[in-house]
């Protein structure tokens, strides 16, 4: 057993909630507030894990399965993500397709759990979630396919740890397009502005938060934690692309990686502070734009 392969996953499991808190601190900075402490997400999780449960009379076992499958999917996704030059726990050719489909599995059950409550708000959230996910899927696939061709490697670990800084000189435009497409996918998949507003408390405008209105206690903790894991997984891909630092010492590589993760969260927070949520009808244009960026990257790579 190669213990080094467990490090990226363990780091993700431990540190994922921190990203949310960096985003929140950034938003607080822009708003002129001090913001919650960095460890606030952990306090929230601990509080939620200690609570009892209220379940709706309408629900069935599907409702209870939703958070569990969602969390399991997020953990499975994390097992495929390399970090700081270290390979992931599981790495094999075309594992990025498995990555996308395991994400889908979690989403499918979250959506079903939302529909299980019979609430119009949750139905609305579920409908929008599948709408945007279906459009984000081609962008994700095309972007990852472009990366696979670029690095002549088929597994996520191979792609991301084989990346050299020199590649940016050589294939800069294509890489930049891929990063752009993946950033949009990250915003959409993690329900951030401009696709969805995690802070809104008007049910009609919520997507992800709308879907989980009826979850509480341990279930809600699972949902929030898996949202953190998903954010970590997609961020790690982007950071490994943007900062392919290979200083030679694991400590330096890891420091660069973690700094990159923090920087990306600041970027997400900045986007959230400077933009309003797009009108729902405009979001498809954004996602199709990401598809176009990824397709363009693919063409540039093949040229």
């Amino acid at each position: 057993m190669n213990w080094a392969a467990c490090v990226p996953m363990a780091a993700g499991l431990a540190a994922a909630p921190l990203l949310t808190s960096v985003i929140n601190r950034t938003k607080a900075f822009f708003a002129g507030r001090q913001g919650p402490p960095l460890l606030q997400p952990y306090y929230d999780l601990a509080k939620l894990l200690g609570k009892g449960a209220v379940y709706s009379r309408t629900t069935t076992w599907v409702f209870r399965a939703g958070p569990v499958v969602g969390l399991a999917g997020a953990v499975g996704v994390l097992a495929l993500i390399p970090a700081a030059g270290l390979p992931a726990l599981a790495a094999f050719p075309v594992d990025w397709i498995v990555f996308a489909y395991v994400l889908s599995l979690g989403r499918f059950f979250t959506v079903l759990a939302a529909l299980d409550t019979g609430s119009a708000f949750e139905g609305m959230g579920a409908s929008r979630e599948v709408f945007f996910a279906a459009l984000a899927e081609p962008a994700l696939f095309l972007a990852l396919a472009a990366l696979a061709i670029l690095s002549r490697n088929l597994s996520l670990s191979g792609i991301l740890s084989g990346l050299q800084p020199g590649l940016w000189m050589e294939k800069g435009p294509a890489l930049a397009l891929v990063v752009g497409a993946l950033f949009v996918v990250l915003l959409a998949e993690n329900a951030r502005i401009p696709v969805d507003d995690p802070n809104t408390h008007l049910e009609l405008t919520m997507i992800h938060e709308g879907m989980v209105l009826d979850h509480c206690g341990v279930d809600l903790a699972f949902i929030q934690y898996s949202a953190g894991l998903k954010l970590w997984a997609l961020s790690a891909i982007i950071v490994s692309l943007v900062l392919p630092v290979r200083a030679g010492s694991p400590a330096l590589d890891s420091a660069a990686f973690l700094a990159g993760m923090a920087g990306l969260s600041v970027a997400v927070g900045t986007v959230e502070s400077c933009m309003a949520r797009l009108r729902l009808l405009r979001v498809p244009a954004l996602l199709l734009g990401a598809c176009a960026l990824a397709a363009l990257a693919l063409v540039l790579v093949l040229r």
Binding site: A53, V62, P93, A120, A126, A133, A136, F141, A295
Partner: protein
């Protein structure tokens, strides 16, 4: 081969016996029992052949000119036969209880006779080694399934559906007839063996087009699919399962058989199938999203899945034409495995829809809701089928789609020609879109039908199906899991089949399959992590929640105190964002009534999506044909003397022509 003949004999005799008895009960038991027993007998040699037993043949002459009773069991036929027989056995068992619950005192003998005849004729189609024998089987299959579609013939909609099916299937049949006659003329015989290696020269391409149209009509390629959304909902559910699960696959089989007889494929054949596959896949799932009838939705998903299969086969043909064994093995492997997978999960879903219809009396998605509490087993099975058809791991649909993805990525990574790269990119993006849309569609289908609160009294009073219907569904659900759990074994078993289809040597194919099996092992490890995490999370929650307060309450409704079931999202509202985005393709009609004045009291909104190719292609075509042919009606008076005059005039004309031609 002898076991196959025994199996066909049992099925046919059982059908005849069912026809001859009077009691509904005995007809069902005889028909279904013989169909199931015969299928199980035939499954043994079929599986053996599919897994690489040496091909067997059987034949003797026949007084009909050109025809011979020659049967041929090779890996390709064996594979399709195994799929057909497995699903036939399961659907026959399900059908016993399902048909007995149909209202009225109608005799069931004819229905079972047709069912068994359908199974036997599909066997004949798959085994035939002679063109005339093949066409005989093909026509018998079409007629037997027509009578099954028209089973509830007292309903006007059913008669209409049967009529559409009959016309469509004969249109396709006409193309096949032309193809077979032309091919036989070129080869000098109707024997497939003689066709093999016949040099056709320039006409090869047109023969392939004829095969695509003829077989594509049966398989349901867009835009030839018009009969599927009519016939599948009208037929009894176990027949829909059989037709959608395996009968339409005889079109895929025919296409594969014909392309192997036509010789080495040029690249454009692959490109054509990829194009058909992508358009069928994307449009099939979009039209499915817009449907309100559960079985009609499933029928459109058959179009989508046939598209995925065609995509795989197209990539395989590209591999053959470019001499790449890897591409051929991955493409054909994914496509053929999807044939099996689709038979399993679509069979399961149609049986599930049948149980819903049986338990509530309606197929309208928007009239249902909350069925999971009333029909827990049916709901569970339907959920398994929904996840499988959406291509979600750890179920079987994911395995075959992953193989096709691999083929598409191989195209992009090894760009031997611009066409191959374009095909690869289109296939990756298209499959990703299809996957996302299919998940959306089945979230809608399962969510609106089985979750939430019942929307009508019919749904409130639903009852679970009996064990005779649940056990077949359970068997199909278990096999979806089994293939998903053993992908390495399944992928490795495809060797002999792919060797025959692609023509590449077996050791090369086994090398590709070993690589694919390595990927599948990786998939297995990720699925293992997911399952372990799920178990851990469920255990943690149970441990944490033990001894704490656990209440039940109303669903949160923002403080509104009297929520009703009518406030729930419906199938129409759930799909609305996607439908309106793709409205140029779907041309959904919306109707809004009663939103007038300053204080409108009641209002209702409904959508209807008619089939675009039926409205824009076939209806103008048929209306045009009717107008042209209507003019000919003037010749028909029903008066004998005038008909005699026609004969005399024709004879005189022929005489004149032959006199001129003679020296």
């Amino acid at each position: 081969m002898h076991l196959i003949l025994v199996s066909a004999g049992v099925i046919l005799l059982g059908g005849l016996a069912a026809l001859s008895v009077r009691s509904r009960r005995w007809a069902s038991l005889l028909g279904a029992g013989s169909a199931a027993a015969g299928s199980l007998i035939g499954l043994v040699p079929a599986l053996r052949a599919a897994l690489g037993a040496p091909p067997e043949s059987f034949g003797f002459g026949w007084p009909l000119p050109g025809a011979a009773l020659s049967l041929e069991l090779d890996p390709l036929a064996g594979f399709f036969l195994a799929v057909t027989l497995a699903l036939s056995a399961v659907t026959a068992v399900y059908g016993v209880r399902y048909l007995q619950s149909t209202p009225g005192e109608r005799s069931l003998g004819p229905a079972w006779f047709c069912f068994n005849l359908l199974v036997a004729s599909m066997m004949l189609v798959l085994l035939a080694g002679n063109g005339i024998l093949f066409l005989l089987g093909w026509e018998t299959m079409a007629l037997a399934s027509f009578f099954l579609v028209a089973f509830e013939s007292e309903k006007a909609s059913t008669r209409d559906a049967g009529w559409v099916y009959l016309v469509a299937t004969h249109l396709g049949g006409a193309f096949l007839l032309a193809l077979f006659v032309l091919f036989a003329r070129a080869a000098g015989s109707f024997e497939f063996e003689a066709w093999m290696g016949t040099t056709l020269g320039a006409s090869t391409g047109s023969f392939f087009i004829l095969a695509v149209i003829g077989f594509g009509t049966k398989a349901g390629f867009m835009p030839l699919h018009v009969w599927l959304p009519e016939a599948h909902p009208a037929a009894p559910s176990h027949v829909s399962a059989l037709m959608s699960g395996v009968m339409i696959k005889t079109g895929i089989y025919g296409l594969l058989r014909m392309s192997s007889l036509l010789g080495p494929p040029p690249a454009w054949w692959g490109g054509l199938l990829i194009g058909i596959g992508l358009s069928s896949g994307v449009l099939g799932v979009l039209f499915a999203l817009a449907q309100h009838d559960l079985k009609r939705l499933l029928a459109y998903h058959s179009v989508e899945n046939i598209g995925i299969i065609a995509l795989g086969l197209g990539l395989g043909l590209l591999g053959m034409s470019s001499g790449s064994c890897t591409l051929a093995a991955l493409g054909f492997g994914g496509g053929l495995l999807h044939v099996l997978n689709h038979a399993l999960f679509k069979g399961l879903l149609f049986l599930g829809a049948g149980s819903v219809l049986h338990g509530t009396g309606t197929r309208r998605i928007d009239d249902l809701g909350g069925l999971l509490k009333r029909m827990p087993w049916t709901g569970g099975a339907f959920l398994v089928g929904s996840a499988a058809i959406s291509g979600l791991p750890p179920l079987n649909g994911f395995i075959s789609e992953l193989l096709i993805f691999c083929a598409a990525i191989f195209c992009v990574l090894h760009p031997s020609s611009p066409g191959i790269v374009t095909a690869g990119i289109a296939a990756v993006a298209g499959l990703a879109l299809i996957g996302g849309l299919a998940a959306a569609c089945f979230a809608k289908a399962f969510g609106v039908v089985f979750l939430g609160e019942p929307r009508t009294e019919a749904a409130r009073g639903a009852h679970e199906a009996g064990p005779a219907m649940l056990i077949p569904m359970g068997a199909l659900a278990a096999s979806c899991f089994l293939i998903g759990a053993l992908p390495v074994t399944v992928v490795r078993a495809l060797g002999p089949l792919l060797n025959q289809v692609s023509g590449f040597p077996l050791p090369d194919i086994d090398r590709v399959l070993a690589e694919a099996a390595g990927i599948m092992a990786g998939v297995g490890s990720v699925i293992g992590i997911v399952l372990a995490a799920a178990a851990a999370a469920a255990g943690l929650r149970a441990w944490l929640q033990a001894g704490r307060s656990r209440e039940t309450a109303e669903t949160w409704d923002c403080g509104y105190a009297r929520p009703t079931a009518r406030m729930q999202y419906t199938a129409s509202s759930f799909a609305q964002p996607l439908i309106s985005l793709f409205s140029p393709l779907l041309r959904t009609r919306e109707r809004l009534h009663g939103r007038e004045g300053f204080f409108p009291k009641t209002a209702d909104w409904s959508t209807e999506t008619r089939d675009a190719s039926r409205e824009m292609l076939f209806e103008p075509l048929f209306n045009g044909a009717r107008q042209v042919l209507g003019r000919m009606r003037g010749f028909q008076h029903g008066q004998m003397q005038i008909y005699v005059l026609y004969v005399v005039v024709t004879l005189l004309l022929l005489l004149a022509v032959s006199l001129r031609a003679a020296p």
